[in-house]
């Protein structure tokens, strides 16, 4: 059984992106939230900021750990999920839905990303 939706692309650093009409919605994967444990804080960029693929764009903290967020794509931030400021635990409960992080207008092609099957194989090597 796979928890990772088939319509997303995945990075080695456990972020996902859903690409539609030149925009990409970015989040962290089920594997990432599971590894972190209860998420207590999410630091996001602002609308208008530029993200660069494979570069840090924020961070996520759990009770026990802190980790950088690495962007899977390049583009300009057009929306951020402001509800995470007071309810970051949504990244645990619904990482592919309500727990999305940012929406970006893509400025390049998505590269070095995996489909769900390849991503699951990648996760298996980290377990």
């Amino acid at each position: 059984m796979s928890v990772n939706p088939a319509d997303l692309l995945y990075s080695k650093t456990h972020e996902w992106v859903r690409i539609e009409d030149g925009e990409g919605v970015v989040g962290i994967t089920a594997f990432a939230q599971e590894s972190l444990g209860d998420i207590t804080y999410v630091e996001l960029p602002s609308v208008g900021d530029t993200l660069e693929a494979e570069k840090e764009f924020g961070s996520v903290e759990s009770v026990k750990a802190a980790s950088d967020l690495i962007s899977p794509v390049s583009g300009e931030v057009v929306a951020v999920n402001e509800s995470l400021e007071n309810a970051p635990e949504v990244c645990n409960s619904d990482p592919y839905g309500q727990g999305w992080l940012v929406r970006v207008r893509l400025t390049g092609k998505a590269e070095n990303l995996m489909d769900a099957a390849a991503y699951e194989a990648h996760c298996a090597t980290e377990r």
């Binding site: 444990g37 209860d38 207590t40 804080y41 630091e43 961070s59 903290e61 009770v63 026990k64 802190a66 970051p88 635990e89 645990n92």
Partner: protein
């Protein structure tokens, strides 16, 4: 080196706990999640595997006199059936371990020590006690589970079929469960009403399951144990206490009431640094090792424990700062990712705890 297993390690693994090494032991960090386990303990009752901690028996003629010289605890005012928190100090007054001493009789005691310190503590105690005083390490044979939370008394009375309303804070007594002797101690590490329960290691798993058969009880891992104890303002040896610092520096000077010439007494009131509580607005956590600075940028010390506090909704921390700066109110904490504004506050961080509740 392979990690030590408690009598409950197999149970934790079978029940899906996330396991990690702690003080040489393979221990459960969480089951359903740190936040849920933390909040459940504050609201109902949590059950913790604490079998990794060490237990020593000290007994025989002269045990009182000799032990009173070996540890900081005031034994003169400690009645049988009571226990007390205190320290094993080095010659300079630095804390080798923090521990609870139980008094069974005039010359019969139990000392409960941190897992990481147990081997060293035993050697130090042996060297400080005369040969006629028996010192035995009963850790292997002793299982320890902590039942903590406002519902813990009801649960304990149901499972043991005995009344414990008369057992006061830091009181203990022997009881039995299914013919097996156990020790019920009204103590804990969460700030809530609760009990530390000592039972034969071979019976620990069955006893654990009996306690969990009450729907109000959930197993709780070391992750939530850490957030609970920090909210309650209780120090963790190795993080907030160490051999370089004295009890007085840790804010525990008032506990040094023993008039016996115990090892480290002269140095125990030394105060070069102070352990202070900090409150940080927001959710971004300060962590162990982060630098603490004054408003003007002067480095004042470092964080020893820090976490998002689930019952408070903000971040809390303990920090060693130089005594000269300990009375300041406003500090800055430099984390790996940001500078956080911190305010000195008072302990405990969480003031709604039920630990001392009159029953």
């Amino acid at each position: 080196m392979s990690k030590l297993h408690t009598p409950l390690t197999a149970w934790h693994t079978a029940h899906g706990a996330k396991m990690a090494p702690f003080a040489g032991w393979l221990m459960p960090i969480q089951y359903e999640g740190i936040l849920a386990e933390h909040l459940h303990t504050r609201a109902q009752a949590g059950l913790f595997d604490i079998c990794h901690m060490g237990e020593f028996r000290i007994e025989g003629p002269g045990a009182h006199t000799a032990l009173a010289r070996a540890i900081s605890h005031n034994l003169q005012t400690l009645a049988a059936g009571k226990c007390r928190y205190g320290f094993l100090l080095n010659e300079q007054g630095g804390v080798l371990d923090d521990c609870i001493v139980y008094r069974f009789d005039a010359d019969a005691f139990m000392l409960v020590v941190n897992a990481a310190c147990a081997v060293g503590d035993f050697a130090v105690l042996r060297s400080r006690l005369p040969q006629e005083v028996r010192l035995s390490d009963i850790s292997q044979a002793t299982g320890k589970v902590d039942l903590q939370g406002p519902k813990s008394l009801d649960v304990l009375e149901n499972v043991l079929g005995q009344n414990f309303h008369d057992l006061g804070y830091f009181g203990f007594r022997e009881a039995s469960w299914q013919g097996e002797e156990l020790l019920v101690s009204r103590t804990g590490y969460t700030g809530e009403l609760g009990y530390e329960l000592y039972i034969n290691a071979e019976k620990t798993e069955a006893f654990w399951e009996a306690l969990l058969s009450d729907a109000r009880v959930k197993p709780v891992g070391l992750g939530a144990r850490d957030t609970l104890r920090l909210e309650a303002g209780l120090p963790l040896y190795g993080n907030d206490l160490d051999a370089q610092h004295t009890p007085s520096e840790a804010g525990m000077g008032r506990m040094l009431t023993s008039t016996v010439d115990y090892v480290g007494r002269a140095g125990a009131t030394r105060m070069d640094e102070m352990l202070i509580p900090l409150r940080i607005e927001g959710r971004r956590a300060a962590r162990h090792g982060d630098v603490v600075a004054l408003a003007d940028g002067t480095v004042a010390g470092r964080v020893t424990s820090g976490s998002f506090a689930p019952s408070l909704g903000c971040v809390i921390a303990l920090a060693w700062v130089s005594a000269a700066h300990a009375q300041e109110i406003a500090f800055t904490v430099r984390t790996a990712r940001a500078e956080l504004q911190a305010q000195r506050c008072t302990l405990p961080f969480y003031t709604q705890g039920t630990a001392r509740k009159k029953l």
